[in-house]
């Protein structure tokens, strides 16, 4: 089985979010980048397939040279090859089209992406990729098993979960549950050393078009101070929630 894991390169969850150039660009100053958390769960599941069922695992990112340390980290965790499509990621559709070309050229059976990227929050690349490559698609995937060309997946739905059967070629958009937090791997020294010599192929972009454009960013309006209510005076809290906030 040939597995491709899509890796989005995102600001660490503790990052302060600021903008520059008249609020049109994300301010990368002092920001640490990581593998998108949803993708990390997927990558770990891919390693499980590799070790338990025999599979090759490639990772891919659509982005500039600055994403290479993130791809190296994925190699250190155990991926075999990394691919970087050399173009700035501008919107979900463009990224999905670039990824579709990688998927077709590489003949992958299973593509594991994340439910959503924590920076763009599109929740769209994997579904578009599936449709562009005529693959089956399961989103919010919290469990995946493969047997030959058959797959069984569990998807989180509002208020519960749903078990589905499907077949390869398949794209999933994964999240926590695909593996547990404790299963995530921190690259060890040996992994980091071997990652240096693993292939990281830079491929030319297919010059896919975009459908949307980012015009500007805004930060939420600053919050007023909290109103404290005495623990012995909870009638007041009920009163405030009813008469002032009007939420009960």
């Amino acid at each position: 089985m040939k597995i491709l894991v899509c890796i989005s390169h995102v600001p660490d969850t503790t990052s302060k979010i600021n903008f520059t150039e008249n609020d049109t660009k994300f301010d990368t100053n002092g920001v640490q980048y990581v593998i998108n958390p949803n993708d990390e769960f997927g990558l770990t599941r891919a390693m499980w397939f590799k070790e338990k069922q025999g599979a090759s695992v490639d990772v891919v990112n659509v982005g500039g040279k600055e994403t290479e340390p993130t791809l190296r980290k994925a190699l250190a965790i155990g991926a075999d090859n990394a691919i970087r499509v050399d173009v700035e990621a501008k919107d979900g559709f463009q990224v999905a089209k670039e990824l579709a070309k990688v998927v077709k050229d590489g003949g992958y059976d299973l593509v594991i992406a994340g439910r959503e990227s924590i920076d763009y929050n599109g929740g769209m690349v994997p579904g578009m990729l599936a449709e562009l490559t005529d693959a089956n698609f399961v989103t919010n995937c919290i469990s995946l098993e493969i047997d030959g060309s058959n797959a069984k997946a569990v998807r989180e739905i509002d208020g519960g979960k749903e078990t589905v059967s499907t077949s390869l070629p398949l794209v999933i958009a994964g999240q926590k549950g695909l593996v547990e937090e404790n299963d995530l791997r921190i690259p060890n020294m040996r992994g980091i050393m071997t990652a240096r010599t693993k292939p990281l192929n830079v491929v030319e972009a297919a010059s896919a078009e975009t459908e949307t454009s980012s015009l500007s960013f805004e930060k939420p309006a600053p919050k007023g101070a909290v109103k404290l209510v005495d623990a012995d005076n909870l009638d007041e809290l009920v009163n405030l929630l009813h008469n002032e906030a009007k939420v009960i």
């Binding site: 969850t13 929050n121 989103t139 059967s165 454009s213 623990a231 009920v238």
Partner: protein
């Protein structure tokens, strides 16, 4: 030309998000000088849609569309958009609508903006405000394709009633074969889901152990709320994963969010910031959550929560 809205239902009944999406579609249609058409799939009674601004309903009743399948639903919605010549398609952001949206986008050659929180600031170029960086910021995005798909963030627009009624016509789209078959659904029917909830009661590690969740559930029950938790609580197995909210869990955009024994780490706040009113109950006055909350009680959850339950019961009895 009409704005098309997919009004999602469950077991034949419209979800609240369907009425919200319809209300939003009506506002967009007014901006564009056109009408609203809804596509309803296996809904028992579509008459309520008129109240939320829908002019015409394309009523689909097809046993092959039960249970939900993203590809089939996307195909039905695509055929409705083509039939109506719609340039704007509005979806809500339930799990199912988020699932079908990217598939629909590819098939309609439409640009898609998800997590949209306001009506377009401009219709040409069609510009919407959406959340980004997991609620730490907003992004103004232009959709440049002829057909546009807007995913309306749940609870961001609200319900707007009008006094009108909708006409209904039967619609029978052709349904393609699809490669994903539902085997089983496991869903607590007696509980409000976080996505649908107007009020969410959430608790963290301050509660010390899973045995102490009885009061959280009781508070939720009194309020008709969904229960949620912080990430370590689900990682420790005290609560199911489905309850984990925050940047790496579920987003919460409820009207009221009550956080009990949750410190207010940046990753937690990111996921719940879109909630309108936030209440924190915490022993530590320095807990970061107090900076993000509207109302706060400095106190021990084990004393405050049971009292709050009593006060709310009294309030409910008095206002019944």
């Amino acid at each position: 030309m009409s704005v098309l809205v997919y009004t999602e239902s469950e077991n034949g009944k419209f979800k609240k998000t369907a009425f919200e999406a319809a209300s939003y579609a009506k506002a967009v249609a007014e901006q564009m000088g056109t009408t609203v058409t809804a596509i309803a799939i296996n809904s028992n009674d579509v008459s309520a849609l008129g109240t939320y601004g829908v002019d015409k309903v394309l009523n689909v009743s097809n046993a092959n569309l039960k249970p939900f399948n993203a590809k089939s639903y996307a195909s039905a919605i695509k055929q409705a958009a083509e039939k109506e010549g719609s340039k704007v398609v509005v979806l809500s952001q339930t799990a199912d609508s988020k699932y079908l949206a990217p598939i629909l986008a590819v098939n309609l050659d439409a640009g898609y903006a998800s997590n949209v929180v306001e009506t377009p600031s401009n219709t040409s170029p069609f510009t919407v405000k959406r959340t980004a960086f997991t609620n730490k910021a907003f992004n103004n995005t232009a959709i440049n394709t002829e057909v546009k798909i807007v995913g309306l963030s749940n609870n961001s627009f609200g319900l707007k009633e009008v006094s009108a009624s909708a006409t209904s016509e039967d619609f029978s789209p052709s349904i393609p074969n699809n490669g994903v078959t539902v085997e089983s659904v496991d869903k607590a029917t007696d509980k409000v889901s976080i996505a649908d909830a107007e009020i969410v009661v959430s608790a963290g590690r301050g509660l010390k152990g899973p045995e102490n969740w009885g009061m959280v559930e009781e508070l939720a029950e009194v309020l008709g709320a969904a229960t949620a938790c912080s990430k370590p609580v689900s990682d420790l197995g005290w609560r199911p994963h489905g309850e984990h909210v925050g940047q790496t869990g579920k987003p919460v955009a409820s009207n009221l969010y009550i956080a009990i024994g949750i410190s207010g780490a940046i990753q937690h706040l990111a996921g719940i910031n879109a909630s309108k009113v936030k209440v924190v109950i915490n022993t530590d006055p320095e807990a970061p959550f107090f900076k993000a909350a509207d109302y706060g009680v400095i106190g021990d959850a084990f004393e405050v929560v049971p009292q709050l339950i009593e006060k709310l019961k009294e309030f409910k009895a008095a206002n019944a």
